[in-house]
Amino acid sequence: MTTIELFDVGEPTTTLWLPVFASLVPAGFPSPASDELEELFDLNRILFRHPEATYLIRVSGESMQGAEIHAGDLLAVDKHLEADHNHIVVAVVEGECTVKRLVRRGTSWWLQAENPAYADYCITEPDNLRIWGVVTHVVHELIPGKLTALLRSRD
C-alpha cells in the first residue's frame, strides 16, 4: 500500500504574484511575450483554494504511477472538498493513510490503485474507511533531488 508522509507546512505562505501571459507558449520558437502581460496572478490562490484546510503531504511508493503521482511528490490535499467519484483521495483504511482513486462501480465504492501491480480495495464496510481529504494538485520535480533536499533542509 502506498504510504504517505506529512510535510510540515510551517509558516503560512505569503502571496506570490506571477505574471500571466495571454499568448500560449509555442513549443517551437520562443517569442518575447512581454507585450502581452495580462495580469498578475497569485499561484497560491490556484493551488490553495481553502488555505486553512489544505495540507501538504509527501508520497512514497508507486501505486499511483498511472496518475503521474510518484514517490517523493508533494500532494496538496484539501479537507474542505467533498470527495466524489473519480477523485484521487487520501483515505484512512484500518488506521493507515493511503492515496488512491475513489471510484464507484455500480452500487459499490472502491479505492483504486493506478498500477496493475496493486489490488483495488472494495469498501465493503463504510465504517472502516474515512476520507481524509481530496488531492487537488501534485508537485512533481523535474530536477531530481532538489525538492527532497529543500524539505530536508527545513528540519
Binding site: P12, E52, A53, K79, H80, E96
Partner: protein
C-alpha cells in the same frame, strides 16, 4: 451572546489527525523532555491518568492498554491552532484568541439571519472538524464567564453533543448548580480552598454572595466582576489572568484601543506593550513559552469592512521556548508584519503565549505546583537582563523600564490606550492624582 470554543484534548487531537491508528486508544502527550503528561485522550483519562502525571508513573499502564505516549510537537500544534482560528474567524463576527485551543466568539446579532444559534454553532463545529480534524465543544452565554461555564458542561456531558447555551434563567441556574466552584474560570487553587471553607461548593453558591463579601474575600473588584458575570451581567474588562494566582498553560493579553489605529508603528507600540506585560507574567510564574500568537481586529460594526475581522498569526519559537521579552518582541514583530495591512482601521490587538513549561532541561517538575520563585540561575546575560528589568519594575512601578516602542511624547497618552475619560483620578495611589485642597 458570547461563545467559547475549545478543542477537545487539543494536543492529542492534533496528533491523531496525522496518525489515525491512534484513534480509540489511550494517548498522552508529554511536556518538554518527556517529563509530564500535558494532554490526554478520553481513553487515557478513563485509565485514571492524571493531568501533569510524571511519565515514568504511567508508562507501564499505557503499555498494558496498548496506549501511546508522544513527545510534544509544538510546531504541529501551533499550525493546527492557526487553522482552527482562521476557520472560526471566517464565520463569526469576531474572535478573540484566548489560548492555543480556545477562542471567545462574539455571536451578537447572528441569530436574525442564520436560523437558530445552536444550529449555526453546530455547523461551525462541523466545519472546523472537517477542515482540520479537530473536534471541539462550544459553550454560549451572555457573559464570557458563563460561556466558559457552558463549555465546561458541554465537555462533561456528551449528550449535549458538544454545544450548550445558557440564555435563560432556569438554564443558567441549573448549569451553575452542576458546576463545582473550583471549575469556575478565574478561581485558582487558593480561592477554591477558601470558598470551600465558607461552604460555597458550586458556581451557583458563588453567584449568590454579596458585593461586599466578593470584594473582601475575592481580590476586590476582580472578584466582584466575576460574581456579576456569573449572574449574567457582562463586565467588559474582565480578565482573570490578571489575578496571577494560578500558574497557567497559556497567557494572553489584549485590549481595545482608545481610537482606531492604522499606522504600523502605533500597532507595534500596542503589541509591544501587551507582549512585554505577558512576558513579565510568564517570568513571574517561572515559565517559558513555546508558541506565540499575535492578532489584530477590525471593527465588525463597520459596514465597509468585509470579514474576517480578526487576523492572527502563530509561530513556534524557532530557538526553543523562551521568556525573554526582547526575543519575544523580535518574533512578535515578524508576526505583526505578516497580518498587518496598510490602510485598514484596527480597533484591538492581542498576544497569546502558549505551550508554557518551566525551564530546566531534564528536570522533573510538577506543572501544577505553586509557581517557583525564579528559574535556576544562569550565566546568560539575557536572563540577567530580564531579572534586572523585573526587579526595577517591581520596585519603581510597572512600566518604569520598557521597550522604546511603547514610549510616547511626554504628557501624551499612547494612541492605543483605552478610553478612560470617565475614570476618576487614582486619588490614593498616584502622586500626581492626589486630591489637592487649598
Amino acid at each position: 451572546m458570547y461563545g467559547l470554543v475549545d478543542g477537545n484534548n487539543f494536543y492529542v487531537s492534533c496528533e491523531r489527525v496525522f496518525q489515525p491508528r491512534l484513534d480509540g486508544r489511550p494517548v498522552v502527550v508529554l511536556s518538554n523532555n518527556d517529563g509530564n503528561v500535558v494532554s490526554r485522550s478520553a481513553e487515557a483519562k478513563q485509565l485514571g491518568i492524571a493531568m501533569g502525571a510524571p511519565f515514568f508513573e504511567v508508562r507501564e499502564l499505557l503499555r498494558r492498554h496498548k496506549g501511546q505516549a508522544l513527545s510534544s510537537n509544538y510546531a504541529l500544534y501551533g499550525d493546527m491552532s492557526r487553522r482552527v482560528m482562521a476557520r472560526l474567524a471566517d464565520q463569526v463576527p469576531a474572535v478573540e484568541v484566548y489560548s492555543i485551543d480556545e477562542a471567545f466568539l462574539d455571536l451578537h446579532g447572528l441569530t436574525a439571519f442564520c436560523g437558530t444559534l445552536d444550529a449555526r454553532v453546530q455547523r461551525l463545529r462541523q466545519d472546523v472538524l472537517r477542515c482540520t480534524g479537530i473536534p471541539t465543544c462550544v459553550g454560549m452565554g451572555p457573559t464570557k464567564t458563563l460561556a466558559k461555564v457552558a463549555n465546561r458542561l458541554a465537555k462533561k456531558y456528551p449528550e449535549l453533543q458538544g454545544v450548550l447555551r445558557l440564555d435563560t434563567e432556569s438554564r443558567r441556574e441549573r448549569a451553575l448548580r452542576a458546576l463545582p466552584v473550583e471549575d469556575v474560570w478565574g478561581i485558582g487553587r487558593q480561592y477554591a480552598g477558601k470558598l470551600h471553607a465558607h461552604g460555597l461548593r458550586t458556581a451557583w453558591d458563588l453567584s449568590q454572595v454579596s458585593e461586599a463579601w466578593a470584594r473582601g474575600q475575592l481580590g476586590g473588584v476582580v472578584g466582584w466582576r466575576l460574581v456579576q458575570e456569573l449572574r449574567g451581567q457582562s463586565c467588559q474588562d474582565l480578565n482573570p489572568s490578571e489575578d496571577g494566582t494560578l500558574a497557567r498553560q497559556s497567557l494572553s493579553c489584549s485590549r481595545s484601543f482608545g481610537q482606531r489605529l492604522t499606522a504600523f508603528d502605533d500597532l507595534w507600540g500596542a503589541v509591544t506593550t501587551y507582549l512585554s506585560r505577558a512576558a513579565e507574567k510568564l517570568r513571574a510564574q517561572g515559565d517559558q513559552a513555546h508558541i506565540l500568537t499575535v492578532y489584530l481586529s477590525q471593527d465588525r460594526y463597520d459596514s465597509r469592512v468585509p470579514p474576517p475581522y480578526t487576523r492572527s498569526a502563530t509561530l513556534t519559537l524557532p530557538g526553543g521556548p523562551s521568556s525573554d521579552t526582547l526575543q519575544l518582541l523580535s518574533y512578535g514583530r515578524r508576526l505583526l508584519e505578516r497580518i498587518y495591512e496598510p490602510g485598514r482601521l484596527y480597533v484591538k490587538a492581542g498576544v497569546v503565549l502558549d505551550g508554557l513549561e518551566p525551564p530546566g532541561r531534564g528536570r522533573q517538575l510538577d506543572l501544577f505546583a505553586p509557581a517557583a520563585a525564579a528559574p535556576a540561575p544562569d550565566a546568560g546575560r539575557a536572563q540577567q537582563l530580564m531579572r534586572t528589568l523585573d526587579a526595577l519594575n517591581r520596585q519603581f512601578g510597572r512600566g518604569t523600564v520598557r521597550p522604546a516602542a511603547t514610549i510616547t511624547p511626554a504628557g501624551q497618552p499612547a494612541p492605543w490606550q483605552g478610553n478612560a475619560r470617565h475614570r476618576s483620578p487614582a486619588y490614593t495611589t498616584r502622586f500626581e492624582d492626589m486630591l489637592v485642597v487649598g
